[in-house]
Every structure is written in C-alpha cells, then in structure tokens.
Symmetry: C2
C-alpha cells in the first residue's frame, strides 16, 4: 500500500501519520492551511512528481472543494481526504500520459473522465476539453483543476436532484454560490 | 469618446477601425484568434494598463464567454464586443483601486459587483470573495475572471429561467456544459 497512514484506525494520533509532517510544516497555530500554504505543502510533498507544481488557482479550488465549514482553510482531516483523491487523479493522469510529456491529449482527457465514472454527452466532453486544453493538450495542473470542479459540481447537483432523475432546480442566488465558488 | 471606432456605422470596413490593428496583428488567415493569441493581443494593446497582463486562463474564459459558435476562437466582431466590456470592467476596477496598488479589497469587490447591477446575498458575495481573493485582496486579472464568469453564468441562468421568477431547472448534462465551460 503506497500510503500506510490510511490504514491507521480512527483512534490513531495524527502525529503518527506520515502525512502529518507535510501538513504541520506549513499549518499555523490553528492547525489549518490556506490555499497558498496548500500550494507550498503539495510542492514540498512531491505529489506532483515530475509535473509542474500546482498553480495557486488550482489550490484554491482544492480548498473550496472540501471546505464544508466555509472557513477558506483546510484542516488535517480534509487534507488527508484531498491527498487520497489527488493520488487517484495522479494515477489516472500518469496512465494516460504514456510518453511522460506531462500532458495528455484531448481524447485521452475524455477517456479519463469516463474512466472516473462520469457519463457525459459528446457536447459536454467538448466543453470540458475546450476549457482545459492548450493547443490540443492538457497539463497535469489543468487536469486536476478539471477533476476538482467536475467532482464538486456533480456533488452539488446531486444534492439538489432530490428525485434522482438527473434534473435539479436552482434559485439564482444558490446557482451563483455553487458555480462561482468552484 | 475614447474609442471612436464604435461610432462607425454597420457598413464601415473593419480596416478603418483602430481596434482592427491589434486584432489583425495576431489573427491568422482565418480571421479568428485563440486564447493564447488573445492573450498576446490584449497585452500588446495595453488595455491592462499598468496592471499585470491577463493570464491564459482568463483569456480562455473570455473566448468562451463570447464563443457562440463553439469554435474555441474569437472573430473580430466578438473581439470588439469583448473590448467594450473589458473597458467597462477596467474603469470599475480603477475606480476602486484608489491607491493604484493593482488590487482591490474584499469589500470593494462586493461594491463593484453590486455597482454592475448584480443583486446577491451576503453568502453569495462571500463565496465570490473567497474564490478570487489572495490574502484579502483581489488582483485585476482575478477581477476580470470573476466578471467574465458572473456575466456568463447569469446569462445562461436567465435563458433557462423561462418564467423570470429567479428559478431554473437543469438537466445534469446541461448543467455540466454550462458550468464547466466557464
């Protein structure tokens, strides 16, 4: 298992978790990290491997994705959750970046999105590719930004799709809160 | 009038429009510009003044905001429309950036959003500030990114709010198309 910390029982002290080292190195007295601290933390942890470090914008999206208490910061439990999700996305990206160029192609992004369980129309796939590709290729940072937003927006939609029919109603103000925060 | 080209009648050749110089300097044979060409074009035009040039991400949002034919590129008419909108946003930003620091404060972003005619709850304002501020301040590039998304998302919502009651229904796939492209 790549990250033995995940196997720890619920009673384990965070100090025993290897991830806690990365987290506590940047967290202030309050045990919370902001987007720029997350950026430093992820860069130091080396989770991006040989890919470029995450942009501040992507780190802000990551904080917002898990920010249930609207504090604009991330606690250790949220950080652990993010770490696990990020590892999944990195493995997916690596499996499509076969030549190790640090980018994947348009159609590979579509395959990756499908492999994560999303069922989207060709039109929706085109929108996503258009938004995240640069000259027909998608960099790791943009891939993660895409994954963060797709996950968070799908979560928010599902919460409002009370009849589970794939249809949801939004008040304007709620729609802006959901879409502008991510 | 700052941009006399706007006064030209519909029959005026684009070559007579001073904006056409900026546009044609980067547009290819097809008379269209992509996000990275728009970035170069806007940098060369000096529209950002003493502020940092627009990021590629913000330029992608600008292209998407006006991309009615889903071509991922921008023609000259769309560029002119963007120019006019951008000037309005720049003037708004400048009026709040009183000390010329290149940033505005959280509460000034809220005032700016209100001055553009949006009626949002304090919660929605908090979401927006949270998403676009860095250490409590908002840079011009982030401000424009915020304005592009707020305008495009409001437009898309309005189209689906057929009864004009501030409530709209979305199918999941449509929701993803609207929110992931901007």
């Amino acid at each position: 298992m790549a990250f033995p910390g995940y196997g720890a029982g619920p009673g384990a002290a965070p100090q025993q978790d290897p991830l806690y080292g990365y987290f506590s190195a940047v967290a202030g007295q309050d045990g919370q990290i902001s987007a720029d601290e997350l950026q430093r933390c992820l860069t130091q942890s080396g989770i991006a491997g040989s890919y470029q470090p995450f942009s501040l914008d992507t780190c802000r999206l990551m904080v917002n994705m898990l920010d249930r208490d609207m504090s604009c910061t991330m606690g250790f439990q949220e950080f652990k959750e993010l770490w696990q999700v990020l590892n999944g996305w990195r493995n997916t990206f690596v499996s499509f970046d076969r030549d190790g160029s640090g980018t994947v192609e348009d159609h590979e992004l579509q395959q990756a999105v499908t492999s994560m369980g999303y069922r989207l129309s060709p039109q929706a796939m085109t929108c996503i590719v258009k938004r995240y590709s640069t000259n027909g290729r998608i960099r790791f940072d943009d891939f993660v930004s895409c994954c963060v937003r797709l996950r968070a927006l799908t979560d928010q939609f599902r919460r409002r799709d009370t009849t589970q029919t794939g249809n949801a109603s939004f008040q304007y103000d709620d729609f802006i809160q959901v879409t502008m925060s991510i």
